[in-house]
């Protein structure tokens, strides 16, 4: 019971801080907007090319946006040494971690949901039918990024060169998430039947489950002495 209470309180605290300062969401949002713009300058795309490239562009933008959010998640704990209090509190470290994952998941998915209509408008996509599937893909892939990402955020926040190290550690490990997310998104955007890309969604689920368990198990070694 205390365990779930800690998850709830940590997530709620992050949410409250974020609602008051709006630091993370706004920086994520504008960064992703710039990424979209840069991509549309870099590739002059017709409708056909857009179909091929859009899933990749979408996930590059989302991944880097997510990294901004994940990095902020624990660096916010550095002011007034709050991290120290989390470490020495009797609360289970796994619960603190899960609370952070929940908050990060919420922030990143929110940013994605705000950004996605921009993609739809800028690149003339037709998404109405597959919207539920797309949202499911966003959720699962973001969960995959968040579980590993929150773990590494907790790790890199306590070392030097933390802004650089988070993507360096996270992205190679997140290769399966990226591949699966891009392939599934492409399938959905092209209007393929679900059966053609269902295995990618299953891969995302497997990744999420494996790394939630593994991260939950090892996070105590990072947040504790």
């Amino acid at each position: 019971m205390i365990f779930f209470n800690v998850i709830r309180v940590v997530a709620w605290k992050d949410l409250l801080c974020e609602m008051r300062s709006r630091e993370t969401i706004s920086s994520m949002f504008f960064f992703a907007l710039i990424v979209i713009l840069v991509f549309s300058f870099s590739f002059s795309m017709d409708q056909q090319a857009a179909r091929e490239l859009i899933a990749g562009i979408l996930w590059v933008a989302f991944a880097f946006t997510g990294i901004i959010g994940l990095g902020k998640s624990f660096s916010a704990e550095l002011q007034n040494d709050c991290l120290e209090y989390l470490q020495m509190s009797p609360a289970p470290k796994g619960a603190i971690y899960l609370g952070k994952v929940a908050a990060n998941l919420l922030f990143i998915v929110t940013a994605e949901v705000i950004l996605f209509p921009m993609f739809v408008i800028f690149f003339n996509l037709d998404v109405v039918e597959d919207l539920p599937v797309l949202l499911l893909i966003f959720f699962l892939a973001t969960l995959g990024l968040s579980t590993v990402g929150t773990l590494f955020s907790a790790m890199t926040v306590q070392i030097r060169a933390r802004e650089v190290m988070l993507p360096i550690l996270l992205l190679p490990l997140a290769v399966p998430v990226m591949i699966a997310a891009v392939e599934a998104t492409r399938g959905a955007l092209n209007g393929n039947p679900l059966a053609l890309y269902r295995h990618w969604i299953e891969l995302l689920v497997v990744f999420d489950v494996v790394f939630t368990v593994v991260s939950f198990w090892v996070v105590e070694l990072i947040l504790d002495s």
Binding site: Q158, M165, L169, P172, L173, V175, I179, E183, L203, L221
Partner: protein, 241 residues
């Protein structure tokens, strides 16, 4: 117990070096001279005798790193951490060399230096994970924390690796049928002898290198500890009334 093992290994490490060298020498003779060229690939097939064992050794090194990391988290013994650090350094070295030799092999057989083949991509990802591991270690000042974080990263990365391989394989097979295969390389006796010899040779040599590198890291941390100790002793001498 650990100290006894290390002492034993130190004492007999020369034998590892000699045995590894012998196996490699024999393997080189069989691979370069005694075995016939392949019917399709020609002489180029001889690259396999150095490339494949190197790749296997890098995976062996990562397995040692993974088990060592678990062991470290169990005992929190700094020497085990030195072992992990050494295994990671060797693994990144073997992975890099395996990637380069693989690239050299790919040029004459597949007419390209690089292809997005599942095995190649997995190895590239392995290389990146290990490079991140070594970088992470340089950015932490406290050796105890360095060891702990590095162990966590090694474990998470090791669990991730099969998933990476699996996903890349799916990705490739869906995009284009695998036009590239090990065409014509039937595992015959002529090929197996040098391959096995080189494999055993590199594995034993890896053990030898692991001992030497662990020794190196252990001695340098010992030296640093001594320097730190010297500093404390100077201070303490000053304080005593």
């Amino acid at each position: 117990m650990l100290n006894t093992i290390i002492r034993k290994l130190q004492r007999y490490k020369g034998w590892f070096g000699a045995a590894g060298g012998l196996c490699l020498g024999l393997g080189l003779y069989y691979g370069l001279v005694a075995s016939p060229p392949d019917y399709y690939q020609g002489e180029v097939v001889r690259i396999m005798y150095v490339h494949v064992p190197l790749a296997h050794t890098s995976l062996l090194a990562y397995t040692v790193l993974f088990l060592g990391s678990l062991w470290y988290l169990w005992t929190r013994d700094p020497v085990v951490d030195n072992l992990c650090h050494a295994a990671a350094g060797l693994s990144v070295f073997f992975t890099a060399v395996a990637l380069i030799t693989g690239s050299i092999w790919a040029k004459p057989t597949w007419n390209t230096w690089w292809t997005w083949d599942a095995r190649l991509v997995s190895f590239a990802v392995l290389f990146l994970i290990l490079a991140g591991y070594l970088m992470l270690r340089t950015f932490i000042d406290d050796p105890e924390r360095e060891a702990r974080y590095a162990a966590v990263l090694a474990i998470v990365g090791f669990i991730d690796l099969p998933i990476v391989h699996f996903s890349v394989e799916w990705w490739r097979t869906l995009h284009q049928p695998l036009s590239i295969s090990m065409r014509g390389v039937s595992i015959s006796k002529e090929i197996l002898i040098p391959l096995v010899l080189m494999g055993i040779g590199f594995s034993i040599l890896f053990v030898y290198m692991l001992i030497v590198r662990t020794q190196m890291l252990y001695l340098s941390s010992l030296l640093n500890a001594k320097k730190g100790r010297l500093l404390s002793q100077v201070h303490l001498a000053k304080v005593e009334p």
